[in-house]
């Protein structure tokens, strides 16, 4: 697979300067570097600006409903565990509409790679507040300022049982590509919260904001220390937004019955005998 092979012949429709371009580039680089293709991988997305990406990467995919990418991906992975299963989701998609699915996928530690396009806004619907919007943020649905607090998807994921939890900035394409590869190599539920500017609607979380206020987690950060990871995941503010792998542990994964796909006759005479 080369970058050219991934071109489906239609160009991105995102706004100029959209953070999604960085995620798109990083993902394609990771695909080429890791040897993922249509024999071994599948992509799933929800609805939001992020979801359009499926049209711009020539890989087999499922573009589901708003908030429901994770359960679709779970079904795919259970039915065919050999597939590298990538979920693209947004902050509204994953944490608003699909919050319940997110919590329980973390808890079950299904082997999924979840890339959370986090622009702290509902942008496809032209700029309303999201679960990640800052308190006080002025949006179309909160013209007087957002009355609600955002929460940390990293804290939530770690508490709920996810075993690989990381954060990246969409403009650092090499680092994001590397994280995507690491997340997929991880056996278990992997979350990458990707901070990305919405050039059109978000005037607070700009490129400059993320460039000035993010920093890489310390080289000696112990990714197996859950309490430390939770503490770090609660950090947010000026010069205080950590990037990198917060938490990574190996947990034993449950082995489901292996199913061989395709139509097959079943002998149920034993079950019928039990009815006498």
């Amino acid at each position: 697979m080369t970058l050219e092979d991934l071109n489906p012949g239609c160009s991105p429709t995102w706004c100029p300067g959209c953070g999604n371009f960085g995620v798109w580039a990083a993902f394609k680089n990771a695909v080429v570097a890791s040897g993922w293709d249509n024999t071994n991988s599948v992509l799933v997305a929800g609805i939001g600006c992020h979801g359009h990406m499926l049209n711009f990467v020539k890989m087999t995919s499922f573009n589901g409903l708003h908030g429901r990418a994770i359960p679709v991906a779970t079904g795919i992975k259970l039915a065919n565990p050999k597939l590298n299963t990538f979920v693209f989701t947004g902050d509204g998609d994953c944490l608003g509409e699909g919050g319940n699915h997110f919590i329980h996928a973390c808890r079950r530690n299904h082997d999924l790679t979840v890339i959370l396009h986090d622009n702290a806004l509902y942008s496809l619907t032209t700029g309303q507040t999201s679960p990640m919007s800052a308190k006080g943020a002025k949006t179309k649905s909160t013209p007087g300022g957002n009355p609600d607090e955002p929460f940390s998807p990293l804290t939530l994921a770690i508490s709920a049982g996810a075993t690989f939890v990381a954060r990246a900035f969409s403009s650092d394409i090499p680092k994001l590509a590397d994280l995507i590869a690491k997340a997929n190599a991880h056996k278990g539920f992997a979350l990458i919260d990707v901070l990305q500017p919405c050039a059109t609607f978000n005037k607070d979380y700009t490129y400059q904001f993320f460039q000035e206020n993010t920093y890489p987690l310390e080289m000696d950060h112990d990714v197996t220390n859950k309490i430390l990871a939770l503490e770090k995941s609660q950090e947010w503010g000026l010069k205080k937004i950590p990037l990198g792998i917060f938490y990574q542990v190996q947990k034993e994964t449950f082995v489901y019955p292996e199913i061989s796909l395709g139509a097959k006759e079943r002998d149920i005479s034993g079950l019928l005998k039990n009815l006498y």
């Binding site: 573009n63 409903l65 259970l78 139509a263 009815l275």
Partner: protein, 481 residues
């Protein structure tokens, strides 16, 4: 009542948690193993303990299709003293009925001695089980039939959130998954249930989910997703009394409009409505083939009356029926495509082009007429060809109407177990020549009556409707006709 004179009904009641249902089921097994036919009717409040539960075991030498309203023997197990009141009751009742305790020894486990004490201390009163009348029968309820139909159909993935009255389906499927090599997964909610099943189906698995009306409400967006992405999916909806939490442990046929209109926009929804456990087994099997053939959601509409009520049949077998497979695209094969909830072109890429939109809407929509042409059977008509009165009904009312028909020689009965696509021509022809038509259904608005009108232009003016959660009893139908 005269109609059920050949049926002997034993009603066993007790406090919830005393094992009333188990007692009734063992008595019924003793009867079916002795070659008798039975039908078990259960009532239980939406509680785990406390309140009154009852089971009516209807026994006859001929097939029993519904429960009698008034029992011939009323047995209150609360009055028994002992640890396992229900098991002692089994012994007592079997002795009263002239039954054989050894016949059900395997179902009594280490409580045989208690059953034996009940048996030895009782006297024969109504020896209906003493004359064996034929070969042993099977005893099956709708939940078991649905689960077995799915397994026979090559089920590979099921995701079902617990809900009365369909939890029995998931219990059965969960228990047998390793034996048959399919996955049962409990999801966090019904939205996840339908989406997980769609994901598994997209990956190539024969997939299903099951729920009741409230859960189906949450699934409706997924019904549309399966329709739009052309992903095969079987959904079993076991109806109970609505709306909202309604009557959780009682029955209603109130979800017909819901399933026919589930999901926004137009796409083919195939809806089947089996009338007894045997039809559930057969139509669930069929649903999997139809889902694959037309790559669209197939809904099997059943209800508490079917899910929970054991009925005897001479036998059940997989017979000539075959698992049908149809070529479809799958991920992991190297082929590039998108399954897309947006309108899309042949690759699945999002499009809003007029020509693509029209082409793909038509392609999806015509599946319904293709299904009508290729698969829709002529609906079954019971009773005499010439009749003074014709009953129309659907789904689970079949048994009660057929029992009533035994006493109504001049009445015939059109039973609809295919709802969508609808057998328009056959129904028009049959009802068009009927002298007097009565629509019988278990809801307040006559949902099937309206569906018939919409499809055939025929308006049925006489209705027998019931919506108190209790099933139709044959006696009531006879009385009202």
């Amino acid at each position: 009542m005269k109609n059920s004179s050949n049926i002997f009904a034993v009603r066993i009641s007790g406090i919830a948690g005393e094992g009333v249902k188990t007692a009734g089921q063992i008595v019924a097994k003793a009867a079916t193993r002795a070659g008798m036919h039975t039908y078990n009717y259960v009532e239980y409040p939406s509680l785990i303990r406390g309140g009154r539960n009852l089971i009516t075991v209807n026994i006859s030498s001929e097939p029993v299709l519904a429960s009698k309203k008034t029992p011939d023997l009323d047995f209150d197990i609360s009055k028994i003293s002992g640890v396992h009141k229900n098991i002692i009751a089994v012994g007592t009742i079997l002795k009263m009925l002239g039954g054989d305790l050894e016949n059900v020894r395997d179902l009594l486990f280490d409580q045989y001695d208690e059953a034996k004490s009940g048996f030895d201390n009782a006297a024969q009163t109504n020896p209906i089980l003493s004359s064996r009348s034929g070969l042993a029968k099977i005893l099956i309820n709708g939940n078991e039939a649905a689960a077995m139909g799915a397994i026979a159909a090559g089920l590979q993935f099921a995701s079902i959130y617990p809900m009365s009255p369909v939890s029995g389906i998931l219990h059965f499927l969960a228990e047998h998954q390793r034996e048959f090599g399919y996955i049962y997964k409990q999801p966090e909610d019904e939205i996840a249930a339908v989406n997980m099943s769609i994901g598994a189906s997209f990956a190539g698995a024969r997939a299903m989910t099951a729920t009741s009306g409230g859960g189906f409400c949450l699934m409706t967006e997924g019904v549309g997703l399966a329709g739009m992405t052309e992903t095969p999916l079987v959904i079993i909806n076991g109806m109970r009394g609505g709306p909202a939490t309604g009557l959780p442990t009682w029955s209603e046929q109130g979800d017909l409009n819901l399933v026919l209109g589930a999901g926004q926009g137009d796409f083919p929804r195939i809806v089947l409505a089996p009338g007894d456990a045997k039809e559930i087994f057969e139509q669930t099997r069929l649903a999997f083939n139809l889902a694959e053939k037309y790559r669209t959601p197939v809904i099997v509409l059943i209800d508490k009356n079917l899910c929970d009520h054991d009925q005897s049949f001479d036998e059940m077998a997989n017979g000539e029926w075959q698992v049908e497979s149809y070529e479809r695209k799958k991920p992991g094969t190297g082929e590039y495509f998108i399954s897309n909830s947006y309108e899309h072109n042949d690759f699945g890429q999002t499009t809003e082009e007029i020509s693509e939109r029209n082409l793909h809407m038509q392609k999806r929509w015509q599946k319904l007429s293709e299904c009508a042409k290729n698969d829709l059977p002529t609906p079954k008509i019971y009773g005499p060809e010439e009749a003074t009165t014709t009953i129309v009904s659907w789904g689970s009312t079949k048994g009660a109407v057929l029992e009533a028909l035994k006493e109504l020689p001049e009445v015939n009965f059109l039973h609809l177990n295919w709802v969508s696509p609808f057998p328009t021509e056959a129904v028009q022809k049959f009802l068009g020549k009927a002298k007097r038509v009565i629509n019988v259904e278990q809801n307040i608005s006559g949902q099937m009556g309206s569906w018939i009108t919409r499809n055939t232009g025929i308006t049925i003016v006489e209705n027998i409707l019931k919506y108190d959660g209790r099933p139709f009893f044959p006696e009531e139908i006879i009385e009202k006709i």
